[in-house]
Symmetry: C2
Subunit: 151 residues, 2 copies
Amino acid sequence: MNIGEAAKASGVSAKMIRYYETTGLIPKAERRDSGYRDYSPADVHNLRFIRRARDMGFAVAEINELLGLWRDRSRHSADVKRIASAHVEQLSARIAAMEEMRSTLQTLIGCCAGDDRPDCPILADLEEPGVAVRPDAQARLRERAITNRRG
Amino acid sequence: MNIGEAAKASGVSAKMIRYYETTGLIPKAERRDSGYRDYSPADVHNLRFIRRARDMGFAVAEINELLGLWRDRSRHSADVKRIASAHVEQLSARIAAMEEMRSTLQTLIGCCAGDDRPDCPILADLEEPGVAVRPDAQARLRERAITNRRG
DNA sequence: ATGGGGCTTGCCATCATGGCAAGGTCAAGG
DNA sequence: CCTTGACCTTGCCATGATGGCAAGCCCCAT
């Protein structure tokens, strides 16, 4: 199986398959006389595992650990669970940070006329945080944003 | 004002101030005879705007647009609002993608004993999606989105 | 005048991915 | 058999925002 076929079958691009090989995430592929890499169904199975883990947001270093545990028949599921839990924590932290950004921006957007006049609470807040929108107005707007998405 | 003082006053690291200068986000700083960059309070004001916009997750290219509108006294607030709204959309998309990852992982984690035995639904799902857990969680992950960028 | 801290530039690294280019290989059809 | 087009190879460059390191110069206080 050529790298292009393996790519289609696994969902991992040929470019990334080569990259994973150079970084040691996957073993070096067999080569044919032509120099072409040759992949077995087992290799594709491996790649699909990687692809799936990437889809869940795991970093390559974490996937390396997961692959090790996957291969280790005497693994402890606690180790897998610990990696996954740490990743969930990381996801939660990033989600929270982005939600805070979004909330702030939605408040400001809700205060912006969005017409052809120059006055803009969004710019005003970037210039001097908290001056353009008083906290109580912010709180009201946040409530509306949550309960009624068209404020 | 030296770059270090400007950095402290603005919250932007000296390194990033130089970077913003090379990329043209901010104009080239005045230089003293020694070659040291010299910053005015207005420069710091500029940098704080940038810092704040970064805190809200705007990319540097977007901040460039925002700075242009900030300086333009004949701007239309609609243009600012459009940029901010687009960014909120982007944040929402990333948040949704990460929430789906988290949801899937939490389901799997909830099915994992987390002990010293090797059986692990997390690995099982990475190997063969949807076999270890209910099918509805599987359907969600099929949608794959761009998720790894910082907000 | 000396020492320590700040400034300069420049280069490297991150992380996962895409793109481009020059050249070799394979398979199908004339 | 030869051409053609699709595919493979390696290698280098770019991304985006940030940190680190290093060699060398500058400034101020003792």
